[in-house]
């Protein structure tokens, strides 16, 4: 019945299953939403979307599938965009040359037509893209400071009076986010690291001890309690930030946020490219508030497990030679620092967001790989799994 919607959602990457689709059909049949299209939209949303990140994608697919289904009615939801206003808006920010260019294209009318066409094209092509009109220099549309969020153009072809439907308002845009490795997966992988130890108040029955002491007590029950087991893994996380890592920061932050809620003892520090004599806590203040690496090494005992995250892509000098750092003059080479850290923390791994098959093209990755004694893993679920196995 609504197969188009279902398949559209699947295509747009909203995780829907047959079960949810059947639920939707059952609910429709039961008459949960028989009054209006709006109610049906709400019903479809509540049964097919299970994560607020997907709400925006759902809205877009819904708008696309049911385009033109509802006639534009309803006074309050009507958004009117007078053409003059648009024109003025554009003219305000146009230079004379650009105005001439418009004339050359056949005047304002023609331009609006083209604009509309292009918008439609673009919308079809990048479903999901947030930029409808590109900023490329050759497009006449980039120059107007035209913001599709600020001024809407209706999709039903009626420019002047287009009803803004609920799903066209796209209220959940801010919540959309394409997450590559989702945090749940990371957490599940990180669980491998859990080492349980007993800490805190005695709340659990210790069976062995109870049997022993009961026997000693001539058969009279003598209860022995022990503390509940808690995760006692201590983790020292060092993240490479800035430069070539900017591409991977997202993945790093994912890892970081996943890790934070999974461990009681977790310390995170940032470094740039390679580890040297200083590290820092907050990236914004990296130049003002750094902490000597020595201090870190002295603060956290060697039962901490060390996880280094970085792409290890740099000039070989940055690792091998004193003074090779791109940011400051380092008295000792990065390699010396890495080896020093590894000596303090024997349980250590390096996670590399660069895909494993590309590692051999970068010399510095090989060097770090060697310094780490081969304990470098790609930042994928499998890599994470292997790394955790190495650490535990």
């Amino acid at each position: 019945m609504f197969t188009g919607l279902f398949l559209g959602l699947k295509e747009a990457g909203v995780p829907v299953s047959l079960r949810e689709y059947l639920d939707l059909l059952a609910a429709t049949q039961a008459g949960v939403a028989d009054q209006s299209v709006d109610d049906f939209y709400y019903l479809a949303r509540t049964s097919l979307v299970k994560d607020e990140r997907h709400l925006d994608r759902f809205d877009r697919v819904f708008a696309h599938v049911f385009k033109g289904l509802e006639k534009p009615e309803g006074e309050e939801g009507t958004a009117e965009i007078p053409e003059e206003w648009l024109k003025k808006l554009a003219e305000l920010s146009l230079t004379d040359e650009e105005k001439e260019a418009i004339e050359a294209m056949g005047g304002w009318e023609k331009l609006m037509e083209t604009l509309k066409q292009r918008m439609e094209e673009q919308e079809k092509r990048h479903q999901g893209g947030s930029k409808w009109i590109g900023t490329a220099g050759t497009s006449p549309f980039g120059a107007y400071g035209y913001n599709p969020e600020g001024v809407r153009i209706g999709q039903d072809g009626n420019r002047n009076f287009s009803a803004v439907k609920v799903w066209d308002k796209r209220e959940f845009k801010d919540l959309d986010g394409e997450v590559e490795i989702n945090t749940r997966n990371i957490k599940v992988a990180l669980r491998r690291l859990r080492r349980f130890a007993r800490e805190g108040a005695a709340t659990e029955l210790d069976i062995d001890d109870t049997i022993n002491s009961t026997a000693k007590n001539a058969g009279w029950l003598d209860l022995k309690m022990v503390a509940e087991r808690h995760n006692a893994v201590k983790l020292l996380l060092m993240l490479d930030i800035g430069g070539s890592m900017d591409w991977h920061i997202r993945a790093c932050e994912e890892l970081f946020s996943a890790a934070r809620s999974e461990f009681k003892h977790l310390e995170a520090w940032y470094f740039h490219n390679c580890l040297y004599e200083n590290v820092w806590r907050e990236n914004i203040r990296r130049h003002r508030q750094t902490t000597p690496t020595w201090e870190v090494l002295h603060t956290y005992p060697s039962d901490y497990k060390l996880v280094l995250v970085g792409d290890a892509s740099m000039s070989p000098y940055e690792i091998a030679v004193p003074g090779g750092s791109v940011e400051h003059f380092n008295e000792e080479s990065g390699e010396a620092w890495l080896r020093r850290v590894l000596q303090v923390y024997p349980k250590a791994v390096w996670l590399n967001p660069v895909p494993q098959e590309r590692w051999r093209y970068t010399g510095s990755i090989g060097m770090v790989h060697e310094i780490m004694d081969g304990r470098m893993y790609p930042l994928t679920l499998e890599g994470l799994d292997d790394a955790m196995r190495e650490l535990s």
Partner: protein, 281 residues
């Protein structure tokens, strides 16, 4: 059985569709949203509107799925055995029903609220899959199956601290309570303080939404904070003009403690107010 909001709770259209879908198809409803948008209160309001009993199961980090089914007190039984108590012969005496059991065997359909499911261990939702799906579970000690005669209406809230497993999500309806717009907010205030002075509300709402727009706040004030703040404003009999006078963030709003809950946020606001004053002065 339909839910259309109550005297003390303003629902938006989409929320009532979700609730009614969950009631009709007897599926759990998962509610997410910013803290303070009325997720937990919702279950109580549905119970009130439909005249049902509310069974509240609040989840903590130590809660296990088994706690919701039943607990077997082996220690008490051992002790009774030594003392020669008659009760010891029946294991059922030592089975303590949990909240789910209570909900399954209630005389009339109850509302079961599983509050803050994300607080528990990451596997917690998976452990409840079958129980919530089939609405039955097996008690090993007594070899009995507890089955729901009438499926309870299950409302689950989550604050997004942990991601929920897909298999679990597939079995629920989902609703994300978004932050109410100014109009809905006015209705909410109206419901809570019917006699409040119109101008005070208008001014307070202006300050409130302005405050929410301040970039960089760690915790934006939410509906419940607005309601608390209004309560304080009324108790202190602050005049609307006192709110008006602080134009565009030159002064920190009176009784701000109800709106801002973190020291950094207060500092941020003070700094902004200072900058504002300096610019104008």
């Amino acid at each position: 059985m339909r839910f259309e909001g109550t005297e003390t709770y303003v629902t938006t259209n989409d929320l009532s569709v979700s609730i009614n879908a969950a009631i009709t198809l007897e599926r759990p409803l998962l509610i997410k949203g910013e803290p303070g948008t009325g997720k937990t209160v919702l279950a109580a309001e549905i119970a009130k509107a439909l005249g049902k009993n509310l069974i509240d199961w609040t989840i903590k980090s130590t809660t296990k799925a088994q706690h919701g089914l039943y607990e077997y007190d082996a220690v008490a039984r051992l002790r009774d055995g030594q003392l020669g108590d008659e009760r010891v012969n029946d294991v059922a005496n030592y089975i303590k029903p949990g909240k789910l059991w209570e909900a399954f065997t209630a005389d009339e359909t109850p509302i079961l609220l599983i509050d803050e499911i994300d607080k528990a261990d990451i596997e917690f939702p998976n452990d409840l899959l079958q129980e919530l799906d089939r609405m039955e579970f097996y008690v090993h000690e007594t070899h009995q199956t507890v089955r729901a005669e009438r499926r309870p209406i299950v409302i689950i809230t989550s604050n997004n601290e942990k991601e929920l497993p897909d298999a679990f999500l597939r079995r629920c309806f989902f609703h994300y309570i978004k932050f109410p717009d100014a109009e809905t907010m006015a209705r909410i205030v109206e419901v809570h303080f019917p006699a409040i002075k119109q101008r005070l509300v208008a001014e307070a709402m202006r300050v409130f939404f302005e405050l929410r727009d301040v970039p960089g706040l760690k915790k934006k004030p939410s509906t419940s904070e607005l309601l608390d703040w209004l309560k304080l404003l009324m108790a202190d009999d602050i005049s609307p003009d006192a709110l008006r006078s602080q134009e565009a963030g030159t002064v920190i709003p009176p009784l701000y403690g109800a709106l801002l809950k973190s020291e950094q946020d207060v500092h941020l606001l003070e700094r902004l107010a200072f900058l504002h004053r300096r610019e104008r002065g």
